[in-house]
């Protein structure tokens, strides 16, 4: 479970142009469930995702991660409960790498290299053998029916294909939490439904899924266990299991 306790994120804090993107947010994200952050542009969804995904630090408040793999944390208890906002960068890098898979709105694939290399990229720092990584990446590409493009450069992929590559890349390190930021923003209805089908398979595998979206196809989906509505950096409505 991921638990946010009174999290606030301000940019340019203390300056005349200070902007508070997330304000006093407390939230519990249940493991193995799909949680959707819903709200208009500028409501703070993406900022909140970056805080939960250890890509930025809050200005105040704490985020607890229960059930974290603490193998790389010397002296940590077996409970695997870690407060992630105070962690030094070296540990955050490890958590990002091992526990989170990110799917971005614009896919953020690295142009100029192949589909297979893109998928393998997050696995390189783990230090596994190249053959093992390659095998796993090919299996993922096969799973998403895109293995025929494995050796093609990503520059020539369609939007749907790009997204499937991005999903495969998010899964390469077998994360327990998948974070997706507006994943259907650049997809047509058919591809959006296809994406939600993939989300369903993640859920069946017991992964925790956190999606920021203002697409009704996502937040009205029966897959969504909890829908958290945001506006102006605050939670305005929180529907889901207690």
């Amino acid at each position: 479970m991921i638990e946010l306790q009174r999290v606030t994120k301000s940019f340019n804090a203390g300056k005349s142009n200070q902007f508070t993107a997330v304000q006093d947010v407390s939230l519990s994200i249940e493991p193995g469930r799909v949680t959707v952050l819903k709200g208009p542009s500028g409501s703070g969804k993406t900022t909140l995702l970056t805080l939960i995904g250890c890509m930025a630090r809050p200005t105040s408040g704490r985020i607890m991660f229960h059930g974290l793999n603490t193998a790389s944390f010397p002296g940590a208890g077996e409970a695997g409960e870690v407060e992630i906002t105070s962690l030094p960068e070296r540990f955050l890098t490890g958590i990002r790498r091992a526990s989170f898979g990110f799917i971005f709105q614009h896919f953020n694939l690295v142009r100029g290299i192949t589909v297979l290399e893109n998928v393998m990229l997050p696995a390189y720092p783990v230090g596994e053998g190249h053959g093992i990584m390659r095998k796993r990446a090919l299996r993922l590409l096969e799973m998403f029916d895109i293995s025929r493009h494995a050796l093609s450069r990503v520059d020539f992929l369609s939007g749907g294909e790009s997204q499937r590559v991005a999903i495969a890349r998010a899964l390469i390190n077998n994360p327990s939490v998948i974070i997706a930021d507006e994943p259907t923003a650049h997809l047509d209805t058919m591809l959006s439904r296809e994406f939600m089908g993939i989300v369903g398979s993640f859920k069946n595998e017991g992964k925790t899924i956190l999606i920021a979206s203002h697409d009704p196809l996502v937040y009205d989906s029966p897959l969504a266990d909890k829908v958290v509505e945001m506006r102006d950096g605050r939670i305005t409505h929180d529907v889901g299991p207690p």
Binding site: R57, F73, P74, G75, A76, V82, T85, S86, P88
Partner: protein
């Protein structure tokens, strides 16, 4: 003042070090007063972010502080041609009243900076800031000494005038000269040789035991410190004699010169480095039960112990090689 590039480098370097220390100590005091890891307040989170910056700044600042000891000795040695009577750094340090106190301060700051860097290294390996208060308390204690060193350094170099007639090392480290130099020089060679080898052997045995069993850390660290002091005294008492092959020349600075292959630098680096590693091992012991340090500190102590054993062994080998293969022999 003598406008020499090394003098300017030392003065600029120590000024920057002092400036950085002021900044670090200011935040160090705030961390000591306000740190509360359980709190998610804006102040706490800003202190957590700030501590990375301070830690990085101080790593470079104190690394320069450590190196500056050797630059200072090199500079003092290099300037000896400018002063009538000076044959090496010994005479140049005697030009005014700040020279020797400055050298002692620099050695003390070298050791303290080394220990701070060891504690900081351990702290940054942990995920829960286990030594944050210890390292900033130590920093607050060290900072006045480094600032005093900067003051002494300015006083010393600004007070260097080439028309001063100074003493040569032969007179400063002669047997009948009152003071620390004379006292160390007059220490009897044979007992000092025994004490030196006994100290090195005790450090090696206790170090190997600690490395293998993880017990007896305080004893090893204590032996390491005592041996450090014995080795410093031995350098003046008998080690130098074998390098100079002269029975009356006890100067610890001439071995830094080209005639002796700059061997002095290697001797001092191994001795000081080994001393810091050995003392650091002991100082980490009472901190080893704090949070994540239960795993981090034992691993770090093993590395420090290995470093101490290697550096002391190198020092002993250099000294022994000279004692065995030099044509010089000390009589009774």
């Amino acid at each position: 003042m003598i406008m020499h590039p090394a003098v300017l480098a030392l003065l600029i370097g120590s000024s920057l070090t002092s400036f950085m220390l002021f900044y670090a100590v200011w935040y160090g005091i705030r961390i000591l007063a306000k740190w509360d890891i359980k709190s998610g307040s804006e102040l706490q989170l800003s202190l957590e972010r700030r501590t990375y910056l301070i830690s990085t700044i101080l790593s470079y600042t104190l690394a320069f502080q450590i190196l500056s000891l050797f630059l200072f000795i090199y500079t003092a040695d290099h300037l000896h041609t400018l002063f009538t009577g000076a044959m090496c750094a010994a005479g140049v340090l005697k030009v005014n009243a700040f020279g020797y106190p400055l050298l002692l301060l620099k050695i003390a700051d070298f050791l303290l900076a080394g220990i701070w860097l060891i504690i900081n290294h351990a702290d940054t390996r942990g995920y829960d800031y286990p030594l944050i208060r210890v390292k900033y308390a130590l920093l607050v204690a060290i900072a006045p000494l480094i600032l005093l060193e900067t003051f002494f350094q300015f006083e010393y170099f600004l007070g260097l005038h080439a028309d001063v007639i100074t003493s040569c090392c032969g007179s400063l480290f002669s047997l009948d000269k009152p003071g620390i130099g004379g006292d160390l020089a007059s220490l009897p060679a044979a007992p000092m040789e025994m004490a030196f080898y006994a100290g090195m052997a005790a450090t090696a045995i206790s170090g190997l035991y600690f490395y293998r069993k993880g017990r007896g850390g305080y004893i090893f660290s204590g032996f390491s410190f005592i041996t450090f002091l014995i080795a410093v005294a031995s350098l003046v008492s008998f080690i130098c004699l074998y390098f100079y092959e002269l029975p009356t020349h006890h100067c610890p600075f001439c071995i830094l010169q080209r005639e002796y292959g700059y061997t002095g630098y290697l001797l001092y680096i191994t001795l000081l480095g080994g001393g810091v590693a050995g003392m650091g091992t002991g100082l980490l012991l009472p901190l080893a039960d704090r949070g994540s340090m239960t795993k981090v500190i034992p691993a770090l102590q093993r590395k420090l112990t290995a470093a101490n054993l290697f550096l002391y062994l190198l020092f002993t080998l250099m000294v022994s090689y000279r004692m065995i293969f030099s044509s010089f022999r000390l009589g009774n």
